[in-house]
Symmetry: C2
Subunit: 192 residues, 2 copies
Amino acid sequence: MTHSEKARRSSGKRERLAAAAAKVLHEQGVEQTTLADIARAADVPVGNVYYYFKTKNELVEAAIAAHAQNLRAVIGELDALPTPQDRLKALLNGWVEQRELTARYGCPTGTLASELDKRADGLDQAIAEVMQILIDWAAHQFQAMGRDDSRELALALVAAYQGISLLTNTLRDPELMTAEGRRLERWIDSLT
Amino acid sequence: MTHSEKARRSSGKRERLAAAAAKVLHEQGVEQTTLADIARAADVPVGNVYYYFKTKNELVEAAIAAHAQNLRAVIGELDALPTPQDRLKALLNGWVEQRELTARYGCPTGTLASELDKRADGLDQAIAEVMQILIDWAAHQFQAMGRDDSRELALALVAAYQGISLLTNTLRDPELMTAEGRRLERWIDSLT
DNA sequence: GTCTATATCGAGATAGAC
DNA sequence: GTCTATCTCGATATAGAC
């Protein structure tokens, strides 16, 4: 029996737990978050969590998978836009729109990556793959613009976002994201 | 009796603990690090730690202060260089030289900032001030170059560094730092 | 499949001998 | 000032009733 089959039979509690984990882990961080926190957010009794996830690590893994799926959905929408410049700028817009959340809790992927890197488990690899999805997509856009340094540009773009997310969060100023968004937009225009 | 007086009388154990804390917290993260870890690294018995620091938070605070002092020392050396361009490029060079450490553990200031932000204590403010030291210094250099958007440029520079540090760490590839360092150097040249 | 009660364990913190 | 032994508490995880 697969996970999704189990989930159908149990009124989606597994999905609720994974979604709640993604949200609460972003807000509180992995170490600060107890299973009780996640269970409460998902409206599931604490002890019951272990029926769906054998360990806390498995729950974190499910949260990472939820992030990955979310990222793929965002990217899928961007791909409907006509030019690579449009697509990259729409990505920037999305980041700027999230600025209040970022000022409070940082970038969901970035803060997770930073935390998981300090742990012995294999979860750092999983979050690295999520980050790579974004980098690869951005590189693809720069390539479509005819740049032969597309990978370096993609890394610079994602780094700029991760960095300004950290500063926005650390200094609690959402407008840092707005200003950097504008700057990156001009940068993209200058590349053509 | 002040702390430094106490320290003199106790063969510098307080300083040893603060320095060990700075190192171990960078390597393992705040939550993953036990007082026993820090005590061992400083070669001090565990129970004795509480004579010097009443709580774990106070030790973390001391570690942040050590980082701040270290940063000020680095900046002090850079200030000896003749032009703002030289000073900024020397800062970049220092970052690139640290790339192996960054690939393993991330930027000391950035990873601490990311972690402390998820905590209820007031330590997020302390690390924000350390970050601000660097931003202010960089803004000063851009201003000396005659730029009236010096603060925005400084934020972009520090963000680029924080971001590429995160990617270098997450993807475990020190050469990402090398490439971005070269790119930022060209960027600085283009601003004059 | 669902949930309660509880075992276990490790960390921060303290008491008090020296 | 220094260090050992120990208290306390909270979190993960499990046993087992329903």
